[in-house]
Every structure is written in structure tokens, then in C-alpha cells.
Amino acid sequence: MKSENGERRIYLDNNATTRCDPRVVEAMLPFFTEKYGNSASRNHGFGWEAEEAVEKARTQVAAVIGADAKEIVFTSGATEADNLALKGVAEMYREKGDHIISVPTEHKAIIDTAKHLESLGLKVTWLPVDKEGLIDLDELRRSITEKTILISVMAVNNEVGVIQPLAEIGKIAAEKGVLFHTDAVQAVGKIPIDVNAMGIHLLSMSGHKIYGPKGIGALYVRRRNPRVRVSIQMHGGGHERGYRSGTLAVPLIVGFGKACELAAEDLSSGEIERVRKLRDRLLDGIRARVPESYVNGSLTRRAPNNLNISFAYVEGESLLMGINDIAVSSGSEDLAHTSIRFGLGRFTTEEEVDYTIERLSGIVSRLRELSPLWEMAQEGIDITKVNWQGH
């Protein structure tokens, strides 16, 4: 893809956000200038057509996770959905208990909300993950007490794409009578999600990670087996069955609905397999051309669109500077290892992947020629044993 000034730009940061699909934009457009009614207006056609569009979108959103439309609460995004899930459950089930279980590799929307609840007196157990990035189910089982009200474990990790064992967690939650919330922002349209088969009680999702618009998301709240309730975090006109007041963002909801429909198609049409093949092509290309590069997180239990690789003895900023026509995300630097997150997507082409391999392998070997740490490593010096004079 070319930028405005005609320079080549490749977007491989689809875990951060995605390009809005033109079909999504097309679906949204009438709801700005023609069908601009308030879906809560009950006494004229403008309101009715808006409401009809919202309900159609609600069905589309529900379908991609195997839920019922009545179980979808629209929010401003997944951060709000995560807040509503955690705070809403903590408040609603305070009588039952005050203990929440989550994972340190969650998104900040979960971590910071859980820490806030901790500051209010709730207890949070942070389950460790192994080197593959996965939680230990026995550890989860052991962590559950009589006071546990909620387990919140993300479906697919935003940094390394690792898929947690959702159905197994759901089973444990059901056995112990604990609610199971999952942040499925990175999972929708990448892996099959079924809230019933997986025993999920609450699920957060987002529009802009699935080629929909920014500013819209949803919380799935189970209505039966068991009926789950969350206490209100946004008071007002009683929209969304009272769970989330505020005039509905009709155009965004319509776009989100369309995006969910297309995301479901990605899973059934073979599109996601195309992305997986591109991801594997990228991995194979990098492995073949760049020695001492390591995949972070499990490769087998991983969403098909994500690759996260560490390059030894190369500094992050200089690496990104060398591939500045390719949008990627740079993660933590750990003792001279730089990790790069590649998020492939619906608009990624094979040619872009090949170009990325070429550019990246070129820049890594050039920076290693420049790197005194690479030189020391080649001489067999353990850089962790050097008496560095840091500043």
C-alpha cells in the first residue's frame, strides 16, 4: 500500500488496529446522513430504522461468538467491556465473594481494573504463565476458593497470539460455580469462539481489531445456564437493558455488525488459512535468513495472524529505524534481545511478506555487523558475565 506521498508502506500491526474494511464503511455511510435517527426514538420512522439496524447488528455480533442477540451489550470498546465485566461482577456478587483470578499477561484494561478492585479491598490471584505463555489448569483449580467470584483469562494474547485453553477453563468454572470472563478481542475472526461450548459467561470484544470502526465494542453477558448479571457502571437513560446507558452509536454499531459478519466468513471461507500460510511464510523466511531469532510464545497454540520474534544482539530502535516503511510493534528488550510483533491480516499480501523478510534479514545482519555484542557472542564471550560500566 502507498502512503499519501507515494512512498511504499506495509502495515503489519493488525494486533494494534486494522484497516476498516470498505464493505464495513459502505454499510455505515447511510447511518450518518440519511438514517440518522436515534434508535431509542419510538414514535417515528427515523427511530425505527435505526433500531432495526442496531438489532440486525446485534444478531451479527452475537452470531460470531455463538451467542443470542439479547446477550450483547454494546459499549465504546473492549476496554469499557472489560471494566463493565470486572467491576460489574465484583459489585453484583460482593455478597458471594471477593476473590478474582486473572493472569499477568492480560491486557491493561483487565490488569488495571483488577488492581483498582484490589485497592477497594478485593483479592486478586495472578496465575503465572509458562514459557509458552499458557496458564496451568491445575494451578487455576487450586487457586479457586469459596470466595472466588470470577476468572478472567484472555482468549488470545495481544502480544504473542497465544490461545488459552478456554473450554477447559470454562469447565473448571462451571464445576466450581465461578463466573468465567474472557477478553476475546484478538480471538474473534481468528479462531472459532462458541460461548456455550466453551462455558463462557462474559466476553469482551472490539470493532477495530476486526476491520470495523474504532470506538465500538461489546460485552456478552450470559442470560441462561446460569443467568449472569453485572451491576451498572454507566447510569442514565437505561439503554442496553439498563446495563449501559447512552444513545447508541448507530453507525458504529452497524459497522461493527458488518465486521462481525465478515469475521465469521474469514473462518469459514479459508481466508484465515490464507493468513496463516502468510504468517508461516514470514516465519520460515526469517528463520532461514536470520540466525539467532526466537519465536516468543507457543507456536502450536497460537492465533494464525500473529508472529512475535526476538532477534539477539540487535537494539530495538535501530531495528525499527531500518524497517521504517513496515509498521510493526516492538516489544520488550530483554538483555540485548529485541522482540518484534508482526500482526498480519486480511489485506496482507504475499509480496508484502516477501519484502518484509528481505528488508528485515538485511537490516538485522547489517546491525549485527555493527554490534559489539554480536561480535562478543561470536567469540564465545558470555555478555551476562561482562563487568559493564553502565551509565
Binding site: 544482539y313 540487535v314 537494539e315 530495538g316 530502535e317 535501530s318 529505524m321 531500518g322 528488550e333 538483555l335 540485548a336 555487523e369 555493527l370 554490534s371 559489539p372 555484542l373 554480536w374 561480535e375 555478555i383 559493564w388 560500566q389 553502565g390 551509565h391
Partner: protein
């Protein structure tokens, strides 16, 4: 963050990249920074009996500004006497490369690397002068 043209130019075409034998008595080596700080610079100078820097090489693990600072340092010290090289200030590097405030530490590292390399050379020379006969390894 936007880099200055000069930083980009040095990053893309770094001068005097390489290594010299550390044990060579005419070579002074400076190794500054630390991997956990994100910058490591190795600067080596080949210095004549008269104290003139006849060659300089560097290798840097670090951001574009760190690479540019050390590349520029090698360019500047070549042909200078020890004393002239010691007079180079990090602020000269900041000015030449138009480094932003967050990158000033890169220039400090480059100045430190020059000083350490010269110190290393002087130390070797002092040792040599103390024992004029070349030390023979006994292998014991």
C-alpha cells in the same frame, strides 16, 4: 520520532565500522555502556609513537543516534593527536548531529568511549615503558 538527516546518513552509511586486535600495543580500546541500558559502544584507536590517532574503528549496539554518535567520533578523531581527541566534547556531537535532549546520553557515551580508548592506550604504553623487554609467556 524524527531523526535528523545527519543521524540517518550515519546510520545508513556508518564510517569506520570494524575491530582491531585488542592486544596490539598500538591499539587503545574503549567499551562503554551496558546491554541493559540499551547502548554498548566499542571504540578502538590505533595510535602512533608520536601520539597521533592514525586509525579508528567502532562497533555500536544502540539506537540510530548512538550509531551516528560513534560513527562521527571515529571520523573526528582520525588524524588528531591524543590531546586534540580528548578535547572533543559531547556537546560538539550533539550540535553536529542535531540530537534531541533524550538522545544526549548517546553523545556522552561517544565522548566516554574516546577517553577510555585513549586511557587504555596510555596504560599499555606505561606498562611497556616499565618493562622494556617484551614479556615472554612461560606457559606455566
Amino acid at each position: 520520532m524524527a531523526y535528523s538527516k545527519k543521524v540517518i546518513e550515519h546510520y545508513e552509511n556508518p564510517r569506520n565500522v570494524g575491530s582491531m586486535p585488542k592486544d596490539d600495543p598500538a591499539v587503545g580500546t574503549g567499551l562503554v555502556g551496558a546491554p541493559e541500558c540499551g547502548d554498548v559502544m566499542k571504540l578502538q584507536l590505533r595510535i602512533t609513537e608520536d601520539g597521533v590517532i592514525e586509525d579508528a574503528k567502532f562497533k555500536t549496539f544502540g539506537c540510530g543516534s548512538a550509531i551516528a554518535s560513534s560513527s562521527l567520533a571515529t571520523e573526528w578523531v582520525k588524524g588528531k593527536t591524543i590531546d586534540e581527541a580528548l578535547a572533543i566534547r559531547n556537546t560538539d556531537i550533539v550540535q553536529e548531529l542535531a540530537l534531541p535532549p533524550v538522545k544526549i546520553h548517546c553523545s556522552v557515551l561517544a565522548e566516554d568511549a574516546i577517553k577510555q580508548a585513549i586511557e587504555d592506550f596510555k596504560r599499555k604504553r606505561a606498562v611497556r615503558e616499565a618493562e622494556p623487554a617484551p614479556a615472554v609467556k612461560t606457559g606455566a
